[in-house]
């Protein structure tokens, strides 16, 4: 269906006498009738990482006179779909929205992320209809007189929108021209949503800047690193509240990425920070990383559970249900531990101390330390050489027909990650195209090493889960769900046997996957080694060694 063009205007003065003023401008060509007028609440929604905005979409919940609907429109203001709903308490994941035209369009964009309220407005909505000579409705007019109430209180421009009825764009355009010519309204220069965003200020996710700090090569290394780390600390802090409320699994993922990047910077370039800062804080960030690992691992299992179950051939997908219940139970336990940790004085102290220490570093004079351009080149070159050295040894062993031990492949994966984090940390220092190519070359190798390692870890985990499920009922893994259903520990012997057999099949499939990945490592490494990453980034090896 072609998207209808919606026309938007600003009403400079009051909206009180609007039907009469509109009628004056549109008659005799059109008739205007008022349908409804009353108080309305509007909530604008998007994900933490603004997926809808990136896709050019605006989602609004409009509640007026005991009914609520979700309206999805383009960022230019053209309505795409609407759907009635019982308003949930936001933030919620998409499953809070019943199936329907809005949900269908949101699914591929929003995915697993929750929708958060960006802004709330209250005021009045007046709905009118524009009729042609046949008394047929050709356009609908909405007059929106609202003020922002959250996150801050403030006025919004009074707006009038003309939306054509399908197939009547020409008539709606003509009505808009008549209104403009009569001087009743002036065309809106910015879409309504932009005015809301401007008035609302930064959203909850806007503090989470990630590694995109502003860097220039001549900055003192310690100042630049402090900036990068401050942004990462901002990401950690911005995500914590959502992790505690379990809004969606991606908040924990983003928090973990920020912690891992922080740890990598401390490990690989921490010596450029003064006062033994890296040595002081590294153990605390390791604690934080470890605290978050179990829940994340279980999230990954649960998210991929259906795909894993449908791939079974000998066992039936239903056989794995007790495993799902077991994983959900484990997650509940681990989440309580995670939340305790994130609410602890230790975590609060870590973040407060860390940010204060970084502020001090940023305020220090340049001193005799190197600039960040030189530091980045040196550290990237060093990490790159480590990857090449270890990868070459693995490839040589493969050539000689002796399969290198799994630990070597695991080490290579870690070295690749270090290189990747350095590239990401110092990204603003390099040409975007060169950076993109360097990351792409590395990603090919990382993917296959990840597949190898993940298969190994998952196999070990399945074994661990099997042992937990076989543990006697009094064991701590026996969990009663919130909904009162029995946990895996209470599965009948027949069911448990079927589940364990299905888990055996999963384990065998992971083994096959791991073997396949192992066979690909040497080839992918050769591609990476031949790509000349340092040359791509313009890092001269000799200078970088200096």
């Amino acid at each position: 269906m072609a998207t209808a063009r919606c026309l938007e205007f600003v009403v400079e003065d009051g909206t009180e006498d609007m039907p009469r003023r509109l009628a004056g401008a549109l008659e005799p060509r059109f008739t205007v009738i008022q349908e409804t007028r009353g108080p309305a609440r509007q909530v604008w929604l998007d994900t933490f990482d603004r997926r809808l905005q990136a896709a050019g979409l605006v989602l609004r919940q409009v509640t007026a006179s005991h009914s609520a609907e979700l309206v999805l429109s383009t960022s230019a203001g053209a309505d795409l779909a609407s759907q009635r709903l019982t308003p949930p308490r936001w933030p919620r994941r998409l499953d809070a929205i019943p199936d329907g035209p809005v949900r269908a369009r949101l699914d591929p964009v929003v995915g697993i992320r929750a929708l958060l309220p960006l802004a709330r407005a209250e005021g009045s909505l007046t709905r009118l209809r524009v009729l042609d000579g046949e008394a047929k409705t050709v356009a609908r007019i909405t007059v929106d007189a609202a003020s922002l109430v959250r996150p801050v209180a403030g006025p919004l421009p009074r707006r009038l929108m003309i939306a054509p009825v399908r197939g009547y764009q020409e008539a709606a355009d003509r009505a808009a021209r008549l209104l403009t010519a009569a001087g009743v309204l002036s065309p809106a220069e910015r879409p309504a949503f932009q005015s809301v965003l401007d008035a609302a200020g930064p959203g909850p996710g806007d503090a989470a800047g990630g590694a995109g700090a502003a860097l220039s090569p001549e900055m003192p290394a310690h100042t630049a690193l402090a900036g990068v780390l401050q942004r990462l600390a901002g990401t950690i802090t911005a995500n914590v509240g959502f992790v505690i409320r379990d809004v969606d699994a991606e908040f924990l993922h983003d928090l973990r990425v920020a912690v891992r990047r922080t740890r990598s910077v401390l490990k690989l370039a921490g010596d450029a920070l003064p006062g033994g800062l890296a040595a002081r804080f590294a153990p605390e960030f390791k604690w934080l990383g470890d605290l978050t690992t179990p829940v994340r691992d279980l999230d990954v299992y649960l998210a991929g559970f259906d795909a894993m179950a449908t791939g079974l051939s000998a066992a039936s997908p239903g056989d794995l249900e007790p495993l799902r219940a077991h994983l959900a139970g484990r997650r509940a336990v681990e989440r309580r531990r995670l939340v305790r940790g994130l609410r602890s004085a230790r975590f609060a102290g870590l973040m407060a101390g860390w940010r204060a220490a970084l502020d001090e570093v940023a305020a220090q004079d340049a001193g005799a330390g190197s600039d960040v351009g030189t530091l980045a080149a040196r550290r990237i070159a060093r990490a790159y050489r480590r990857v090449i050295r270890l990868g070459s040894a693995i490839a040589a062993a493969e050539d000689a027909g002796t399969a290198p031990p799994a630990e070597d492949l695991h080490s290579l994966r870690k070295r690749c990650k270090e290189l990747r984090y350095l590239l990401e940390t110092f990204r603003p220092l390099y040409d975007p195209a060169a950076y993109g190519r360097a990351v792409k070359d590395l990603r090919g190798l990382q993917d296959v090493l990840g597949e190898f390692q993940d298969s190994e870890v998952q196999r070990a985990a399945i074994r661990g889960f099997a042992e937990q499920m076989l543990a006697p009922p009094a064991a701590p893994t026996r969990i009663q769900h919130a909904n009162g259903k029995p946990s895996a520990g209470e599965a009948k012997p027949g069911e448990l046997a079927a589940t364990l057999l299905a888990m055996g099949e999963l384990s065998a499939r992971l083994d096959q996957r791991q073997r396949r990945a192992r066979r690909q490592v040497a080839g992918r490494f050769a591609e990476f080694a031949g790509a000349g990453t340092l040359r791509t980034l313009g890092i001269r090896t000799r200078a970088a060694r200096a």
């Binding site: 269906m1 009635r84 035209p101 046949e134 047929k136 409705t137 009825v165 399908r166 197939g167």
Partner: protein, 252 residues
């Protein structure tokens, strides 16, 4: 997407009234609904205040020169769109005949609309032709308005045996008594007897009432301009029954 058609070989039996009122009720229940006025007399288009004109006419639609999507018009009612009639629909048989697999063309044309609509109603012209064969291939349920007379009963028998003799897909048939006048003994007798003999007759009965004739004056569906009328209540009963028989399990 569920496709329903109001169909009878005879004219003037209440096809258009049923199509417009049921399509309105479907949209009001939250189903994204399209009504396609296939009758060149364009009564449904008139009631819904849409000009009976499709650029390029029947030929352009059947040949695919103009996508169905382009010709659709919004009505005054939320969730209800109309594909208007066009006078060239009187020659639709010729256009269909020129196409490959001439009995499957309506089905093919409706296919792409499945993403946009939950329910489609076809308001069919009174005839038995290539258009009718296309309709039988395209619909899930054929709604047949029956005036309770002996001749109508005979026509319904002819129709069901015609459908029974069709190759391929056969739609579900649901007849309902239409324009029933309780003052007439024959009407009373047939509406009492026939549902006991056949399972393909709806329990809901649409009476002959002025308010139904008023649709053409008010140019709106009965439940929209006279929601509390007895006729609106009967159409609601018919819609409820249709939902159950067609297995519609709620919008979205």
């Amino acid at each position: 997407m569920r496709v329903f058609a109001t169909y009878n070989i005879k004219g003037g039996v209440g096809k258009t009234s049923a199509a417009v009122n049921l399509a309105y009720l479907s949209a009001a229940a939250g189903y994204r609904t399209l009504l396609w006025d296939l009758d060149p007399q364009a009564a449904a288009s008139y009631v819904l205040r849409v000009k009976p004109r499709v650029k390029g006419g029947a030929k352009a639609l059947v040949r695919g020169a103009r996508p169905l999507d382009d010709a659709i018009k919004g009505t005054d009612f939320d969730g209800l769109d109309l594909l208007p009639a066009d006078f060239t629909y009187r020659n639709m048989d010729l256009a269909l005949h020129a196409a490959k697999r001439p009995t499957r063309q309506l089905s093919r044309l409706l296919g792409p609309l499945a993403a946009e609509y939950d329910v489609v109603f076809l308001d069919c012209p009174p005839s038995i032709s290539l258009v009718s064969e296309n309709i039988l291939q395209a619909v899930h349920t054929l709604l047949v308005p029956l005036i309770p007379t002996t001749l109508s009963e005979r026509t319904f028998d002819q129709l069901t045996s015609f459908i029974g003799g069709q190759d391929g897909r056969r739609p579900q048939v649901l007849a309902f008594f239409s324009m029933v006048d309780r003052r007439k003994r024959l009407h009373r007798d047939i509406t009492a007897r026939l549902p006991a003999e056949r399972t393909d007759i709806a329990a809901a009965v649409i009476p002959a009432m002025t308010v139904v004739e008023q649709m053409a004056v008010r140019r709106a569906p009965v439940p929209a301009f006279a929601p509390r009328s007895a006729a609106a209540a009967r159409y609601r009963e018919l819609w409820e029954e249709l939902q159950v028989r067609a297995g519609l399990d709620g919008p979205g």
